[in-house]
């Protein structure tokens, strides 16, 4: 009884802090490792923010929905669903009773889950379209930036207007108008979408900007699924099908048209059509279809797309077959695809994710992409950003056996070299935690060795984050890069104000030694800039959230370069950014 009381008190304390900073820590941990791949992070971050604002009901969820939380392993998802089936959740405190969820797993989960309603209630009440506009939520954000960067000296202003319509996540619509920095008014960027989700047999219907993900992504994949990181299950449970795409700045990763995924029991069928104009007034049409069947623990899918160009450039066809089989503690999956442009090319990926004992998770995969396999819409596991001419074996291990420690490592051996990473997390309590990460990478033209140490300390509304990054790179000779940063975050008591600030010093004079460090920004703006050169970087964020209706965000950042280095590299000695965002929710 005493331990249960202690546990409940701990979880109550955690809940009140969780959403305020945990989301930032999770995003930093994920994105810090994926920064080099040019992934649409603001789209993924927005997806997670949506989940945080509309938490997943633990009594109504399923594997696909929980799979959006990429840091959950297959075993943890299975255990949550098993508990849901056997007992039903009375409250989020019941998460403590799931053996595979450690304290830090629960802490990371709290911002995104809730318990409401009984498991036996029918999932979602009947939807009446006349209620859609009456009960929908509206959100308007207006953002303005000013950037003192040498590339935009004549026109430093950036603006974005964003509108979101949301009815129970079933009917969503959005419009984004963006004026990029240095762009003329004729170069405004627009993005819009309308999405219906989980209505009858409609798993998803998206009109406007959308993205799609099938199988392992060799035919069409989600940009977030690729890459190597500590969250080894990332992408394995990712929701398949069509879904909206909200980023404007990463518009090249989106489809523009209409896509739908329909679901009947064990079968899903998807169809999509996209059109966009490329340079020289050439129109590009993309048509795609997918059929997926699920039978007990086996899932098999077939995907095909056709690219057609209006100038009669050779069309390209891509077709793929994917399969996944879950056998207790083992998850086997794979996909093979072929592209037909001027020549046939093929690619395949096969892998196994298994949990030999509780708290140990192992992922092994092999991929081969032939030199003629060239599909610009493929996003799958790869050493490079484009799936082409690659052959490699990946082995990752995640160990959570030891109390307060989490150990993870991966080894990726490919033709041109290798990539090895090891990370240790020490999480003794809710007051502080730290992690160490080392990475060694050999590529054709360089060897890179990197080290990162991060300490987070929380006390009475204050959060301190200290991080040291260091690397040495061998190209023609050895060069080093180092960065030391200190973040301070303060939640003003009795006022809805959060202040965040950073001071960072860096010395990475060669481009190969650049260092990425995640930064908090205004709402819906997540950035991982790289620091390169010799100097310092400082920023201050202020958030004012009066109530659920009105929020104001302000950020000022400045990078100061050593004068001699700036002159040598033809850069301004100071670069200043001011971001402001106003959000109104109705």
């Amino acid at each position: 009884m005493r331990w249960r009381v202690v546990g409940i008190v701990w979880l109550v304390c955690m809940s009140s802090w969780a959403q305020q900073y945990q989301l930032a820590d999770i995003l930093e941990d994920i994105y810090g490792q994926l920064a080099e791949y040019g992934i649409a992070m603001d789209d993924v971050a927005e997806q997670l923010m949506e989940i945080a604002e509309n938490p997943i009901d633990l009594n109504q969820t399923n594997a696909e929905e929980l799979g959006q939380l990429c840091w959950l392993t297959d075993e943890q998802i299975d255990d949550i669903l098993l508990y849901q089936y056997q007992h039903a959740f009375v409250s989020v405190y019941d998460l403590q009773l799931i053996h595979s969820l450690k304290d830090y797993d629960i802490r990371n989960l709290l911002p995104f889950v809730e318990v409401k309603g009984d498991r036996l209630e029918v999932k979602g009440k009947d939807m009446y379209f006349r209620e859609v506009f009456h009960y929908a939520k509206h959100e308007i954000t207006l953002r303005a930036d000013a950037r003192n960067i040498e590339d935009y000296e004549n026109d430093p202003m950036y603006g974005k207007l964003r509108y979101r319509f949301d009815y129970q996540k079933k009917v969503q619509a959005g419009l984004t108008i963006c004026r990029p920095t240095g762009g003329a008014w004729e170069q405004m960027q627009y993005g819009a979408f309308v999405q219906l989700q989980d209505i009858g047999c409609i798993k998803n219907l998206s009109v406007g900007n959308f993205q799609a993900n099938f199988g392992q992504g060799l035919v069409i994949g989600s940009p977030f699924k690729m890459g190597k990181n500590r969250w080894m299950s990332s992408g394995m449970n990712a929701r398949e099908g069509v879904r909206k795409f909200t980023s404007v700045s990463d518009d090249y990763q989106a489809f523009h048209g209409i896509g739908t995924t329909l679901r009947w029991g064990w079968a899903e069928v998807s169809a999509m059509y996209s059109i966009d104009q490329q340079k020289d007034s050439v129109w590009h049409h993309l048509v795609g279809v997918n059929a997926t069947a699920k039978w007990k623990k086996l899932k098999v899918g077939v995907t095909a797309i056709e690219n057609i160009y209006s100038d009669s450039t050779d069309a390209q066809s891509v077709v793929g077959v994917n399969a996944r089989y879950n056998w207790g503690k083992v998850d086997l999956w794979g996909e093979i695809a072929a592209t037909q442009g001027k020549r046939w090319g093929w690619g395949g990926i096969v892998g196994m994710n298994f949990t030999p004992i509780s708290d140990v998770n192992i992922l092994a995969l092999y991929r081969y992409y032939s030199p003629y396999f060239d599909n610009p819409y493929a996003y799958a596991f790869s050493e490079k950003s484009r799936l082409n001419d690659e052959n490699g074996f990946y082995l990752g291990v995640d160990v959570r056996t030891f109390a307060k420690w989490r150990l993870a490592a991966y080894v990726d051996a490919f033709r041109e070299g290798y990539d090895v990473m090891a990370q240790a997390d020490f999480i003794p309590n809710m007051t502080y935690d730290m992690n160490w990460r080392v990475r060694a990478r050999r590529q054709v033209d360089k060897d890179t060795y990197a080290l990162r140490y991060r300490l987070v300390y929380r006390l009475h509304g204050w959060v301190f984050r200290t991080q040291i990054n260091a690397n040495i790179v061998k190209t023609d000779g050895w060069n080093y890069g180092i960065s030391l940063l200190q973040d301070v975050e303060y939640h003003v008591p009795t006022l809805p104000i959060v202040l965040q600030m950073r001071a960072q010093a860096f010395d990475a004079r060669e481009w190969n030694n650049r260092i990425y460090a995640y930064e908090n920004d205004v709402l819906y703006a997540y950035s991982i800039p790289n620091v390169y050169g010799l100097g310092g970087r400082f920023w201050l964020n202020a958030q004012y959230k009066n109530n659920d209706t009105f929020s104001l965000y302000l950020r000022v950042s400045e990078t100061i370069y050593q004068q001699a280095w700036a002159v040598e590299h033809n850069k301004n000695s100071t670069r200043t950014d001011v971001h402001a965002l106003l959000r109104v929710k109705l």
Partner: protein
């Protein structure tokens, strides 16, 4: 390669024979091994005779090569071992003037057992005449009759390995695969029979 072993309460005995080569060049090695457990530590010794056939002109050349290994159960779950193949760096005379160096390999390894179904092993080998190798792998008893193995090793290149072992009563079949980034896939198979 062929190996036969006999175990009893006093000492474990084994004999082995390996052959490699073709018409103009062959290597053969035969060995006798003795091993015994002394509670928390075990020791093994093997005496090998290596024969080289270097064509009709040079004929057969041979030499003895010892092998020794010691394993210590530091903890119930943790075993540390050391091993030496040709620890005295024997060479073999090819002709009156030429002596060929034979591999002299020193190994250090550990094995950690998680709940009897999962083994994690790490091993470092150093060949005096070549380079070092570091290997690590996991062996999982998935079900009673099936073992799954994954691992990697580094020896100038990073090589991934996977394998499975299937047991039927007295019969055990092992299949292992390596993916070398330059040389491609290598397969090894093993059949073991308990008589």
């Amino acid at each position: 390669m062929l190996q036969v072993g006999y175990t009893n309460e006093y000492v474990n005995v084994g004999v082995g024979y390996a052959f490699f080569g073709y018409a103009k060049y062959q290597e053969m090695m035969a060995g006798v091994a003795l091993a015994r457990s002394f509670g928390r530590f075990s020791i093994g010794l093997q005496a090998n005779y290596l024969t080289l056939y270097c064509g009709d002109e040079l004929g057969y050349r041979g030499t003895f090569i010892p092998q020794i290994g010691v394993a210590v159960n530091v903890l119930p779950e943790l075993t540390i071992g050391v091993h030496g193949f040709n620890p005295f760096m024997q060479t073999i005379a090819i002709d009156d003037q030429v002596r060929r160096r034979l591999p002299a390999i020193y190994s250090l390894g550990l094995d950690y057992r998680w709940k009897e179904v999962l083994h994690w092993s790490v091993q470092a080998d150093y060949d005096v005449n070549n380079t070092y190798r570091i290997a690590t792998g996991v062996e999982w008893q998935a079900i009673e009759r099936l073992v799954v193995k994954v691992g990697v090793y580094y020896q100038q290149q990073l090589v991934g390995c996977m394998g499975v072992a299937v047991t039927w009563d007295r019969l055990r079949l092992d299949a292992n695969f390596e993916l070398h980034p330059l040389l491609g896939v290598t397969c090894q198979g093993r059949i073991g029979v308990k008589i």
